[in-house]
């Protein structure tokens, strides 16, 4: 039974789904967006809001290096060429952009420039935010406000609480609709032109994470709605998968009473990270913020354990007083919890452990006392010397950990986004294992992202805008199945 009919069905009402919907609508298609969560937006309002925008085509080389050549060059070329017009697209939607270039010290944990400046042509980019006032919320929220306004202006329907269960094909093998469950009731929906999968990653699907990620446990910063639905839908429709082991992961704290994790950063340099044996293992400030997961995922085959999960962030009085460990600018918890400015509320909750001595702190966090004392002694000596011979932390980042009180918080790898999903081509068509397009099935955004290795910050939103447009345009251009 075909209960609902339209030209283009879009699964997911986040950034890429919204861009695809706007584009397909403007190209004359009747569009319906299906969203399983109670509200639309996906991760958009809770991202950092940085939109990567290349300034030269040479940026293709940079992305190709970061992707370890797992992404075909023609896809990267298509992406870079289109992403150069991201600011123009925002303007076309009625917004304005501003270059993201804050004073880094007030934005710890956020990269203003390229994540990997050591790679050739890294300089061929800027990051934009949607311009707005403080009252309009952080940049991610402002982007979502803009998309939402455009969806409303076009009267594009979004069916929330609608879980898509299956992609339907006709006798020719063409995708012609989906089976969905709006509010639990099974309904067939016909798409006369195409279906676009834009339903995000699998940050909250434990089984898929367990299969593909080399660190356990790994939490998520984003929407609980990212549970890998697009992967399963794509697989059932015959899609090949790619980039399944790629994820952008920072560090964060997970409180049991909150679904998502909190990202953690420090406004002051008097902190270190230690493994469960109380030993440093890294230049804490030298790691690209989206790649912490790789550093924490070391597995000790002799002990049969992940010694760096959780890692303990150990810090001194200045770091505690200088500012909140969670800045509240990104993540699903952004609107659910406000971290106290001096971290006192989190100490009271027991999220942050406080002690009068290093030995007491070690005991409270079950780390060997001697090891932690030696580690901090050695680190503080490095600060005095202005040199960190063990891990090469830059001298401007060396600040001794001092009391009168000492602090620790457990941190885990936490996901910004995942990149795996159905393989796509430069026209946003979903491909089967032989590299052939599955007729009338498209994809955009984080699901099956073009990022194939190291993650460049701002790439996800850029990709949502670029491939949202490509998918929307090509879906709308399909001949009707009448």
């Amino acid at each position: 039974m075909q209960d609902i009919e339209c030209d283009v069905l879009i699964v997911g009402a986040g950034t890429s789904g919204s861009v695809a919907a706007i584009t397909a609508h403007d190209d004359g298609a009747r569009v319906l967006v299906l969203e399983k969560m109670p509200v639309a937006g996906g991760n958009c309002p809770i991202t950092g809001g940085n939109i990567l925008t290349p300034t030269k085509m040479e940026f293709v080389d940079y992305l190709e290096t970061l992707s370890f050549k797992t992404t075909d060059r023609d896809i990267l070329e298509t992406f870079v060429k289109a992403a150069m017009d991201n600011a123009e697209w925002i303007r076309k939607m009625g917004g304005e952009v501003v270059v993201f270039n804050p004073l880094q010290v007030t934005h710890p944990g956020l990269e203003a420039g390229p994540g990997f400046p050591q790679v050739k042509h890294s300089e061929c980019m800027v990051k934009y935010n949607v311009k707005g006032t403080e009252d309009e919320g952080p940049p991610g929220q402002r982007l979502w406000n803009l998309l939402k306004t455009n969806l409303e202006q076009r009267s594009i329907e979004i069916m929330t609480n609608t879980d898509v269960k299956e992609i339907v094909k006709n006798h020719k093998g063409e995708v012609c609709g989906v089976v969905a469950e709006p509010r639990g009731k099974r309904v067939s929906m016909k798409s006369k032109k195409a279906v676009i999968l834009a339903c995000g990653g699998y940050e909250n699907d434990p089984a898929t994470k367990w299969d593909f990620y080399p660190a356990k446990p790994i939490h998520s910063l984003g929407s609980p709605g990212s549970t890998g639905d697009g992967i399963r839908l794509g697989q059932k429709a015959g899609a090949a998968l790619w980039h399944m082991t790629n994820m952008a992961s920072t560090i964060g704290f997970k409180a049991p009473e909150y679904e998502a994790a909190f990202s953690i950063c420090f406004f002051s340099e008097d902190f270190i990270y230690v493994d469960r044996y109380g030993k440093r293992y890294i230049d804490e400030i030298g790691v690209e913020v989206h790649e912490f997961g790789r550093e924490m995922s070391y597995f000790d085959t002799r002990r049969i354990e992940y010694p760096r999960i959780p890692t303990w962030a150990i810090f001194g009085e200045q770091a505690r007083r200088r500012g909140p460990l969670n800045t509240g600018t990104v993540g699903y918890n952004r609107t659910l919890y406000t971290w106290s400015p001096d971290n006192s509320a989190e100490i009271a909750k027991g999220w942050i452990i406080q002690a009068k001595t290093i030995a007491e702190l070690a005991n409270k966090i079950s780390v060997e006392e001697v090891n932690l004392e030696n580690t901090i002694k050695k680190y503080n000596e490095s600060c005095k010397l202005g040199k960190d011979p063990e891990f090469g932390r830059a001298k401007e980042n060396l600040m001794a950990i001092e009391g009168p009180l000492y602090y620790a918080i457990p941190i885990w790898p936490v996901l910004y986004c995942t990149q795996g999903g159905p393989r796509r081509d430069k026209d946003a068509r979903v491909l089967d294992p032989d590299g052939e397009p599955i007729p009338r099935l498209y994809e955009a955004g984080e699901l099956g992202s073009i990022t194939g290795g190291l993650y460049q910050g701002g790439n996800s939103l850029a990709e949502c805008i670029v491939f949202g447009q490509i998918a929307g345009r090509n879906a709308a251009a399909e001949k009707s199945l009448d």
């Binding site: 270039n101 007030t106 952080p138 406004f267 500012g323």
Partner: protein
Amino acid sequence: MVAMTEEILSQRKFTIDASQERVWNLLGKVIFDSLPGLERIQIRDQDRFGALLRVKVGFITLNMDVSGEMVDLSPPQSLAIVLYLKGMWGMFRLNQRVIFALSSVNHGKTAVTSKALGEKLGFLFRIIFMRKAKSFAHDIFRSIEERLKQLA
């Protein structure tokens, strides 16, 4: 040129034995590190932050609410921050514009010019705290110079 409502609290010129790029990269961090009484930083948006500044005046510690706004961020040449300081339930107010200008000089060195200007000084502030504000700004600039020289 200094406007009539502004008053120079302190200015300092010095040379750092490092490239302009390097000095620029260190500058933000060093400014904040030179304010040990700066606490409870909160990001408001890309250009604005709030914080609490504890300043010792004689035997007492004065808690000042600080709002900071980056009014010029032109890497690697210049940085200007306007700080709005308010303490004692608003009785003491100081709007302070802090400017840093960087320029390359011979042999890979960088000249740094720093200036702090007081704006819209409250009457009580002018009477009681002007000397302290000047010496505070002077000490901060000296500390920034020393730290930059150390790290360069």
